[in-house]
C-alpha cells in the first residue's frame, strides 16, 4: 500500500501512467518501454511523453508497426533478463499479438515449471466514448481474463493507475494493463511523487452503501458513481466497487458487499455474452446465493461490435441505464 505521502501533484490518469513509468525506469535498469510511436512522439496519448529524452532511445524504443513482433521479441527479452513494458496503441489493435500472448506469454512459466517467467507488462488503451475511429474503442478484456497465466488490471483513477502500474511492472508474471481512454484526462487528483504500489487482485470500495452493490471498472466506475448519486436522491443507498483487477478477481470484497446489500448490478462496456460480468455472477452465485434478494442485473454493451462513434452513446452503459437496473433490482 501507499508509503507515507510527502509530496503530491495533481495529475490526470495518463500523467500518472507516465509518472509510474518514469519511476520504474529510474528504479530498475532492466525496464524497457517498447511500442509504436512511444519514442519521439511520446505515444499517441502522450503516455510516454518525454521518456525517450530522459532515458534514451536505447530504453524507450520505437518499434516497427508489428504487434506480434513487439510482444514476441519482448518474450525473448523478458526471459533473458529484461522487463519489457509494451505499449499496444489501442486494445483493438492487440489481436495480431493475441497468439503470442495466448500461447507463450501466459504459458511459459507453466511450460518450464517456473524455469522461465515472463515479467512483461502490456499496456493498452481501451474503451469507447471519445469519438475515436473504428476498431479503436474495443473493450475485449474478457478475451484476456479467461487466459490462465496472465493478470489483467484496469485502474479508474490517477492514484490507482500509478500504484497499480508499478505493481504490474514489479510482478514476476505478465500483466495486461488496460487504460481507459475516456478516463485518461477526465479528472485530476493528487498523486504522490514517491513510488508506491497497490496490490494486484484487490478491489476498492468507492462509496459505501446498504441497498445495492454496483460493480464496475475503468470508465464505468464514474458511470456507476453518477447512478449511485442519482439513486441516493430516490433513497437507494448504493455501494460502488471498483474492481481494479479483472483477473484475479477479489472474491472476498465482492462477496462481503453483496452479502451486505443482497443486490448487485454489474456494469461493463464489453458485450453481455462472454463478458466478465458473467464470471462475477458466477462468483456471487458461488459465494452469496442465499443472500440475494433479487436477480443480479447487468448493464453492458450489446452483443454487437462496438459501433462507429455516431452510435457509441447508445452502446456504452449510461448512468440512466444503470439507474434503471438499480430500480428494477430494488423493486424486484
Amino acid at each position: 500500500m501507499a508509503t507515507p505521502i510527502n509530496r503530491q501533484t495533481e495529475m490526470t490518469l495518463v500523467q500518472a501512467v507516465t509518472d509510474a513509468l518514469r519511476t520504474k525506469l529510474t528504479d530498475d535498469e532492466t525496464t524497457l518501454v517498447l511500442g509504436e510511436d512511444v519514442g519521439k512522439n511520446g505515444g499517441v496519448f502522450r503516455a510516454t511523453d518525454g521518456l525517450q529524452e530522459e532515458f534514451g532511445e536505447d530504453r524507450i524504443i520505437d518499434t516497427p508497426l508489428s504487434e506480434a513482433g513487439i510482444v514476441g521479441t519482448s518474450i525473448g527479452l523478458a526471459v533473458n533478463g529484461f522487463k519489457p513494458i509494451v505499449e499496444i496503441q489501442f486494445l483493438g489493435f492487440i489481436y495480431p499479438a493475441y497468439e503470442q500472448i495466448m500461447t507463450h506469454v501466459s504459458r511459459i512459466r507453466m511450460r518450464t515449471m517456473g524455469r522461465y517467467g515472463v515479467p512483461m507488462v502490456i499496456r493498452a488503451p481501451y474503451g469507447a466514448g471519445i469519438r475515436a475511429p473504428e476498431i479503436h474503442s474495443d473493450s475485449t478484456e474478457a478475451l484476456f481474463t479467461s487466459m490462465p497465466g496472465l493478470k489483467v488490471v484496469c485502474p479508474a483513477t490517477p492514484y490507482d493507475a500509478k500504484g497499480l502500474l508499478i505493481a504490474a511492472i514489479e510482478d514476476p508474471d505478465p500483466v495486461l494493463f488496460l487504460e481507459s481512454m475516456r478516463s485518461y484526462r477526465a479528472f485530476k487528483e493528487p498523486v504522490p511523487s514517491e513510488s508506491y504500489t497497490i496490490k494486484i487482485g484487490k478491489a476498492k470500495y468507492v462509496t459505501e452503501g446498504q441497498d445495492v452493490t454496483l460493480i464496475a471498472w475503468g470508465a464505468m466506475v464514474q458511470v456507476a458513481q453518477k447512478a449511485a448519486t442519482e439513486a441516493a436522491t430516490r433513497g437507494i443507498s448504493c455501494e460502488v466497487i471498483d474492481l481494479r483487477t479483472l483477473y484475479p478477481l477479489d472474491r472476498s470484497t465482492i462477496a462481503a458487499s453483496v452479502q451486505k446489500t443482497g443486490r448487485a448490478v454489474i456494469i461493463h462496456e464489453a458485450q453481455a455474452t462472454g463478458g466478465l460480468g458473467n464470471d462475477l455472477i458466477a462468483l456471487i452465485n458461488d459465494t452469496s446465493f442465499l443472500y440475494l434478494r433479487a436477480p443480479i442485473a447487468r448493464v453492458t454493451g450489446f452483443d454487437v461490435p462496438v459501433p462507429l462513434f455516431a452510435l457509441e452513446d447508445h452502446y456504452i452503459p449510461t448512468p440512466t441505464r444503470v439507474l434503471e437496473a438499480i430500480q428494477r433490482t430494488v423493486d424486484f
Binding site: 518499434t63 513482433g69 519482448s74 525473448g76 533478463g81 518450464t112 517456473g114 484475479p248 478477481l249
Partner: protein, 350 residues
C-alpha cells in the same frame, strides 16, 4: 532466384568433396563427432517411433532425414547461446545438450520434458508455427544489450515462412541488428502441402533480401555445409554483424507425425530414394580413410544402449504430480486458483 541463391555444398551426394577450399578442415575428429551426434539422434528417433507404435509414447514428430541440418547447426553453438526449437528439432536440442530422458518425457506428455537441462538456454519446443522466431530475436537482442557475444538460433520449417511471425521476426532482427541465426529447414512439406504450394518464391533464402539481411541456401543434408555455414553466421552474429537467414534444403523421410500417412500426399518410394545424410557422411569418411568399422559399430552400440537406458528411466519416471497442474501457472497462485486446487485435492483425499 535459384541462380542468385545456389545451393552451397561441401560434399556431393556421393560424399566427394566439392568445395576443396574446406578439405583441410574436414578432419577425422570433426567427421566422427558429427557422425556420432547424427547416429545418436537417429537412434533416438527410430526408437521413439517404435515406442509410439507400441502405445508407449504419445504422438511423435519424426526427424529422420534432417539429421545433418539439426546436428550441423547445433554443433556450431556454444553453451551460453540460446536455442528456440520447434517440435521437430529435438535432434538439434539433443546435440546442444538437452537431456534424452526429458526429451522422451516431453513426447510422453510430461511437462518435465519442457524444462531445459541445467544452465542450458533451451526454450520449450514451439508448437504454434513461427512464433518462436520473435522470441529468438528478443533473446538475442537481450544479449546484445548486455554486451555479451552470445547468440540465439531459431529453428523453423518451410511452412513457417508463410506466417506473419516469421516476417515480423525477420524485420525486428534486421532493424535492431540482433545476433540471431534464423535457421530454416526446408524439408519440402508442411504436413502435406508441398513447398510449391506454400510460396511463389523459388527459394526461402531470397526472402532475406527484403529485410536487408545476409542469407544463404545450403544443402541441408550435407553436414559439413551446414556446420561451416553456421560457424560463419554465428561468428558474424558474435562480432556484431547482426542476423543471418540460412535455408537448409533437406527432406523429411517419414511422416509429419506418427498420426499421419505421407503416402497419401507423396510417393514414399521416391522419398526413400533420397540420399541419406548419414550415408553421405559415411561415404565421405570411407573415402578419406576415416571410417573404422569397429569404431563405428562401437558408437552404434553405445547409442543403442543409451537410448534403451533412457527409455527405461523414462518409463520408471515417478508418476505426474497433480500439484504441477496448478503450481506453475503463476509465481504465486491467485487465491481463487489456490482454492480450486485445494477443493480438488481435498475432494480426492489429498
Amino acid at each position: 532466384m535459384e541462380t542468385e541463391f545456389p545451393i552451397y555444398r561441401i560434399l556431393d551426394d556421393a560424399g566427394h568433396v566439392i568445395d576443396t577450399s574446406k578439405t583441410d578442415l574436414l578432419t577425422k575428429d570433426l567427421s566422427l563427432a558429427l557422425f556420432t551426434h547424427m547416429n545418436r539422434i537417429r537412434t533416438f528417433d527410430r526408437k521413439a517411433i517404435n515406442l509410439q507404435r507400441q502405445g508407449r509414447l504419445g504422438t511423435y514428430a519424426p526427424l529422420e532425414g534432417q539429421e545433418a541440418a539439426q546436428v550441423g547447426s547445433a554443433y556450431a553453438l556454444q553453451d551460453k547461446d540460446w536455442i528456440f526449437p520447434t517440435y521437430r528439432d529435438h535432434g538439434a536440442t539433443l546435440t546442444f545438450g538437452a537431456d534424452m530422458v526429458r526429451t522422451f518425457l516431453y513426447w510422453n506428455g510430461r511437462v518435465e520434458g519442457c524444462v531445459p537441462t541445467d544452465e542450458l538456454h533451451i526454450f520449450p519446443p514451439a508448437v504454434p508455427i513461427a512464433t518462436q522466431i520473435p522470441h529468438a530475436v528478443g533473446a538475442a537482442w537481450a544479449e546484445k544489450r548486455k554486451g555479451t557475444t552470445h547468440v540465439a538460433i531459431a529453428y523453423f520449417g518451410d511452412g513457417a515462412t508463410s506466417e506473419g511471425d516469421f516476417h515480423e521476426g525477420m524485420n525486428f532482427a534486421s532493424v535492431f541488428q540482433t545476433p540471431v541465426i534464423l535457421f530454416n529447414q526446408n524439408n519440402g512439406y508442411a504436413i502435406s502441402v508441398p513447398i510449391q504450394k506454400q510460396m511463389h518464391s523459388e527459394t526461402i533464402a531470397q526472402k532475406a533480401l527484403a529485410y536487408g539481411m545476409p542469407s544463404i541456401r545450403i544443402d541441408g543434408n550435407d553436414v559439413f555445409a551446414v556446420y561451416f555455414t553456421m560457424l560463419e553466421a554465428v561468428e558474424r552474429a558474435r562480432s556484431g554483424g547482426g542476423p543471418t537467414l540460412i535455408e537448409a534444403v533437406t527432406w523429411r523421410f517419414g511422416a509429419h507425425t506418427t498420426a499421419d500417412d505421407p503416402s497419401k500426399y507423396r510417393d514414399q518410394e521416391r522419398s526413400h530414394d533420397r540420399v541419406d545424410p548419414i550415408t553421405r557422411l559415411e561415404d565421405f569418411m570411407k573415402e578419406q580413410g576415416f571410417y573404422d568399422e569397429q569404431e563405428i559399430e562401437a558408437i552404434r552400440n553405445r547409442h543403442q544402449q543409451e537410448v534403451e537406458a533412457a527409455v527405461k528411466t523414462m518409463e520408471a519416471f515417478p508418476p505426474p504430480d497433480v500439484n504441477d497442474l496448478f503450481d506453475h501457472t503463476y509465481a504465486t497462485l491467485p487465491d481463487d486458483l489456490l482454492r480450486q486446487k485445494t477443493d480438488y485435492l481435498t475432494a480426492r483425499g489429498n
